[in-house]
């Protein structure tokens, strides 16, 4: 028995020793090591340093020196958040193990979020509002007009896995006789690219290159590949709506909803009304794991427009700037929708 135990212990030691010798040491779960992983991951993989005005190396020096063996989890969390904050990108998220803490460097004033309330729109401006698309779409006709209203709350996936975005085609068909449509993507935080592209393809009458993506090709902050055109084509399988439309945006319009906005921005018959979007457009396919179980998500591509500028961290400015206040919403009004109705009714 003792002999077997000794053999088993020896085998474990050999295997553990082999790992260290053949692969290298596992990063330690210490404050310093976790910080190093976070900093190095972004240093080598983050795609937006060219449009970010930060000295990443000096931030390392500033915060790394504050960490030692006595640093608590809370202190490490605060320091990591301080490190991420200057990146000012809404696509970066850090969450702790168990998801009890969550941080993103760009989070606009919550009053802006509350400045849009779908219940106000439903009760005051729509006749017979309907919810469809697994709850992702609210639509209805604008009272006493020949205008349609579609609010897309999210481009994410449905919890039941259903391909809900195809319901958009039915909604657009129902509005085929309308003179114009208001497409509301305020507070829409994005989701799956295929969903925002499908929705946008129902409103376009031509192929549209909505932005260019440059992939990181190496660890340097300037290591990028050539521009890859991102193109969306009109649908041929279902009828679209290519009359006048208005896209409503606010500071919580993010990611895929910004791609949707950019696509519509290319249409001569589309107008963006509301506020500038958040400016978090790049593709987020990278999820990094820190030794302590914290999870970091970040964009690993650089999004640029045809003129070479990047809307990242800036957002897409509206053609007409107008915002609700909390007072408006509390009074049951949506001034943005009201303006859009007036705008679409102009000859």
């Amino acid at each position: 028995m003792v002999k077997n135990s000794l053999l088993a212990a020896l085998a474990v030691l050999l295997l553990a020793g082999c790992e260290r010798m053949l692969i290298g040491p596992d990063p330690e779960d210490t404050a310093g090591s976790n910080f190093d992983v976070l900093w190095k991951t972004l240093d080598e993989k983050y795609g937006l340093f060219p449009v970010t005005d930060v000295d990443w190396n000096s931030l390392y020096g500033l915060y790394r020196g504050q960490l030692d063996e006595s640093t608590t989890d809370n202190e490490l969390w605060n320091i990591c958040c301080q490190l991420l904050a200057p990146l000012e990108n809404g696509h970066i998220t850090l969450q702790n193990k168990g998801a009890t803490k969550y941080f993103t460097p760009e989070f606009p004033d919550v009053e802006i979020f509350n400045g849009f309330n779908i219940d106000v729109v439903r009760s005051r401006y729509l006749s017979g509002p309907v919810k469809t698309g697994e709850g992702n779409i609210t639509y209805g006709r604008i009272n006493e007009t020949n205008l349609g209203y579609i609010c897309i709350h999210s481009f994410g996936g449905a919890s039941n896995g259903r391909d809900w975005v195809r319901d958009m085609a039915d909604v657009v068909t129902e509005f085929s006789g309308c003179d114009g449509i208001i497409i509301d993507v305020r507070n829409n935080g994005g989701g799956f690219t295929r969903n925002d592209l499908y929705a946008a393809s129902l409103f376009i009458d031509r192929d549209i290159t909505y932005y260019y993506s440059r992939l990181k090709t190496g660890p340097g902050h300037s290591d990028f590949g050539d521009r890859i055109a991102k193109i969306v084509n009109p649908r041929s399988d279902v009828p679209g709506f290519t009359k006048k439309n208005v896209v409503l945006t606010n500071r919580f319009t993010a990611s895929g909803a910004e791609a949707f906005t950019l696509i519509c921005k290319n249409l001569p018959y589309s107008t963006q009304i509301g506020d500038t979007t958040i400016g978090a457009i790049g593709e987020v396919t990278h999820v990094a794991q820190m030794p302590n179980g914290w999870i970091l998500k970040y964009p690993c591509t650089l999004t640029v427009l045809a003129d070479g500028t990047s809307p990242e961290n800036i957002g897409i400015a509206p053609d007409i700037l107008i915002n609700n206040t909390m007072r408006d919403v509390n009074a049951g009004r949506d001034r943005v929708v009201e303006y859009a109705i007036q705008y679409l009714q102009q000859p």
Binding site: D26, D29, V37, K45, R194, T285, V287, A288, Q289, G293
Partner: protein, 276 residues
């Protein structure tokens, strides 16, 4: 993986031994087929996805067909494994699928047979395909989701060496070593968006990639096996395999696997069996 590429992969590994079998149909040849069950223990660091090391154990069945001709020895082997790997933090895990096919040709260095109570050494070459694909899963709150997908594929022309020693009635040990000299290596693009298919919301795994010479793609494979013929042409076999691989492009991936296997072996069309 694209089904056409998979078929191509299987075909190219299968046709060479088929041809050699046809030409080697002569007196004194030996053929055997071994089928094994096995367990593999894998340790992997893939910095494309994470600096965290994952490790775990899973099933690793394998099979090998050996043809000993007068002019040389041929072997065709394949294995498969599925594992759930874990990391130090319990909200990370990795599901891994790996497959491996190899055809090897060896020429004995001295005139001798494996059954005459003395070691025989052989050298040769082999072609192999090794592919492993792994999903890095995270547990943000209550359910596991895929964080990132990565893979390592290596299709190689290898230097091969073999030593055999046979004794008694049907006992044999073999040691095999393989070292890839020229490889076509498939790895994800540096930016994980480079392989991401937005239409299907998942990564497109590429079967082939860049061609590299040693040591840019470094792989070392050693196999030790023992077989014993028990009754007529049927016997048992057991073995151990060690495999180590490292590639630094576009990100460092480094892994090793220890596999233990046991199975049955069938010698067929062997007129010389038991005659030594």
């Amino acid at each position: 993986m694209n089904i056409k590429i998979l078929l191509l992969f299987l075909a190219y590994n299968a046709f060479i031994p088929l041809l050699s079998n046809i030409t080697a149909a002569q007196d004194g040849t030996k053929n055997s087929l071994a089928i094994n069950v096995g367990l593999g223990n894998l340790h992997i660091l893939d910095e494309h996805a994470t600096p965290v090391i994952f490790r775990g154990t899973g099933i690793a069945p394998s099979a090998e067909y050996v043809h000993d001709g007068r002019s040389g020895w041929h072997s065709l082997e394949g294995s498969f494994c599925f594992m759930n790997l874990s990391a130090a933090s319990d909200n990370y895990k990795t599901e891994i699928l790996a497959g491996h096919l190899r055809y090897g040709y060896f020429r004995p260095l001295f005139n001798g047979s494996s059954a005459d109570n003395r070691p025989v050494f052989a050298a040769g070459a082999s072609v192999s395909s090794h592919f492993m694909k792994y999903d890095y899963l995270i547990l943000p709150a209550t359910s596991w989701i895929k964080g990132i997908e990565s893979w390592y594929g290596s299709h190689s022309l290898e230097l091969a060496a073999q030593a055999r020693y046979g004794w008694g009635k049907g006992n044999k040990v073999r040691m095999l070593f393989y070292l890839p000299l020229l490889s076509n290596v498939s790895r994800p693009a540096y930016s994980s968006s480079g392989d991401y298919n937005y239409e299907k919301n998942d990564w497109d795994v590429k079967a082939f990639g860049k061609t590299m010479i040693i040591p840019k793609n470094l792989m070392f494979n050693a196999i030790f096996s023992y077989q014993r013929i028990l009754k007529k042409n049927l016997g048992i076999t057991a073995g151990y395999e060690f495999c180590f691989a490292q590639c630094r492009k576009p990100d460092l991936v480094r892994w090793y696997m220890n596999s233990f296997r046991a199975g049955i072996i069938y010698n067929f069309n062997n007129k010389q069996d038991g005659e030594e």
